[in-house]
């Protein structure tokens, strides 16, 4: 059986899965990527009520590793593009 604690934490995948990062938000530019990831991490920290640093600190990683419900926290994010179309 799969155990959440044993899995390798893929931060980008995690942020995408739970609606903090739009599927095509990451572009090739390193600078752009960093800014977008910081904003996504900060958004996650804000939602969970942990200190908002925008960085992958110890607390944030611990929260990301916890087993949780698979439904995204921000369902609007993934629907956004479809809605516009």
């Amino acid at each position: 059986s799969v155990c959440a604690e044993d899995r390798t934490l893929m931060v980008e995948t995690w942020l995408k899965t739970y609606g903090y990062l739009l599927p095509h938000a990451i572009r090739t530019s390193d600078l752009w990527q960093e800014t977008v990831l910081q904003a996504a991490v900060a958004s996650m920290q804000r939602f969970y009520g942990i200190p908002v640093t925008g960085r992958l600190d110890q607390t944030t990683v611990e929260w990301m590793r916890k087993p949780r419900c698979g439904v995204p926290d921000h369902p609007h994010a993934s629907r956004h593009q479809r809605k516009r179309r």
């Binding site: 899995r7 939602f47 087993p67 419900c69 698979g70 439904v71 369902p75």
Partner: protein
């Protein structure tokens, strides 16, 4: 689902448990899920039975080993077909029922959480909510839906009608029969006072539509309105039969013109007047009362309070006086440190409110003063736009003419000023040209609409003729070929 404004409207929604997690066992899995769904009057269909009978199973419960999730809910809304599988809830196999409480995982809680998604709830950022993505361990034996989840579900589906009924109604005392309460005029309005002054009717019974109440409170989900030596009891904006009643007829020993009142968490009623307060258990005064307000809390104002507010959902009691308020700890019998604080914290609420109570679902707090009330959003910590509004119209069910007639003392007068005189001033400052324009513009607009409709009709008519000609033209070659 919720974002598009959809709701489960069918009362006979069925669900089916398609498999079980071996770690927990079939019986325990089914018991946990049935308990989660049990509070709703949903039907469980056995898989085989549903297949044979062709019954629709709208919610399917299964278990998948996926990505280490605690659970997952897939919600597919198909407005065209109402597909058989509208929602599938998948508590993941790795979680057990009997895990230590510190792990926070319980199949029952997982099922409740995923059911929340199926009903349209999103994740909450309130860590104490069952809809938080990492829900905390909760007491599953005496499980009670946290306030945040309750508010969420009521926002989609509304407040259940059962909650509007009083849970523990106060006893109703037999009223002393007076000529005005005879069976004949039971449904008629109380006699109106003469137009020039809001004097009390012959037997001294006031009219609720005159306003100027001492305080307004909610006891056991019923509104109680106090004025001088009288009080009214209202349900659904209607005064109940036999009211107004004299205060000391119901709560013996309680003086007239009380300042404030609230219901304590233990169900006892606390009344304030001046520097004293009384505690009543139902209609009987507790021994040793009245006591001095200083005995209640040393930092409370010695000369009395304006109003008291019990925030039951979060277990807090507040006292208001002038432009300050205090938070009171019912367990320790003291005011919390750091208080009083300025009333400015309650953005938009006037100083010295005369009454306050929290709404049924706990989302709003209503403040009363004079003949007006303010609706305060407990989340935004601000008054809703459009307030204050009239208590007489919105709470007491008085019609506009009555509200207008009794329009004195609107700004929190504690005492009725009998010497005031009503002055009716008719203002007609609209020039005649404005009236003419108000007639001409709608007429011109109507004419334009008529011309437009005629033009469209003409175009359609021509289009139909052309289309018929085209069909005729294309038909000949086909006929020849055939």
């Amino acid at each position: 689902f919720a974002l598009t404004g959809q709701k489960w409207r069918d009362r006979k929604i069925s669900y089916s448990i398609s498999n079980f997690t071996p770690k927990v066992g079939e019986k325990d899995t089914q018991r946990a899920i049935r308990r989660a769904f049990g509070s709703l009057s949903w039907l469980e269909n056995l898989c085989s039975a549903s297949a044979e009978d062709g019954m629709k199973v709208l919610v399917l419960l299964g278990h998948l080993v996926l990505l280490g999730h605690l659970g997952h809910a897939n919600i597919c809304y198909c407005p065209c077909c109402w597909a058989e599988e509208l929602s599938s809830i998948t508590p993941v196999e790795q979680q057990g029922l009997k895990l230590p409480p510190s792990s926070g995982n319980d199949l029952f809680l997982v099922a409740v959480h995923e059911l929340g998604h199926a009903l349209g709830l999103e994740h909450s950022n309130d860590p104490s909510a069952i809809m938080a993505p990492f829900y905390q361990y909760m007491d599953t034996h005496n499980f009670k839906l946290p306030l945040d989840d309750l508010q969420g579900i009521q926002k989609i589906y509304g407040v259940p009608t059962a909650m509007m009924e009083p849970t523990r109604p106060l006893p109703t005392l037999p009223t002393r029969r007076t000529p005005s309460t005879s069976k004949h005029d039971r449904h008629s309005r109380p006699p109106r006072p003469p137009a020039d002054r809001p004097a009390l009717p012959g037997n001294g019974r006031p009219n609720i539509c005159d306003g100027n109440f001492n305080t307004v409170a909610f006891f056991r989900r019923e509104m109680f309105v106090f004025k001088d030596r009288w009080f009214w009891r209202l349900r659904n904006n209607k005064v109940q039969e036999g009211y107004p009643m004299q205060i000391d007829q119901f709560w013996k020993g309680l003086p007239p013109r009380i300042d404030a009142t609230y219901e304590r968490p233990d169900g006892k009623f606390v009344f304030f007047k001046g520097d004293k307060y009384w505690v009543f258990k139902e209609v009987t005064a507790e021994p040793g009362y009245p006591r001095s307000l200083v005995e209640m809390g040393s930092t409370l104002p010695k000369d009395g309070i304006d109003t008291a507010l019990r925030w039951e959902p979060v277990g807090k009691t507040y006292f208001f006086k002038g432009d300050q308020y205090w938070r009171y700890n019912e367990e320790k019998h003291t005011t919390d440190p750091g208080y009083p604080k300025p009333m400015a914290v309650w953005k938009g609420i006037p100083d010295a409110p005369q009454g306050a109570f929290i709404s049924r679902e706990g989302h709003y707090t209503y403040f009363y003063r004079g003949k007006e009330y303010w609706k305060f959003d407990n989340q935004k910590l601000a008054v809703e736009p459009g307030y204050p509004k009239s208590v007489l119209r919105d709470w007491m069910g008085c019609d506009q003419s009555e509200v207008g007639r009794s329009g004195k003392g609107n700004r929190g007068d504690r005492q009725l000023t009998l010497d005031d005189v009503d002055i009716l001033v008719t203002i007609n400052d609209v020039p005649p040209t404005v009236n003419a324009i108000a007639v001409v513009i709608p007429c011109v607009l109507s004419l334009c609409v008529l011309v437009l409709v005629y033009t469209i009709f003409q175009f359609k008519h021509k289009g139909a003729q052309q289309s018929a000609a085209m069909q005729l033209y294309h038909r000949y070659p086909v006929q020849e070929w055939v």
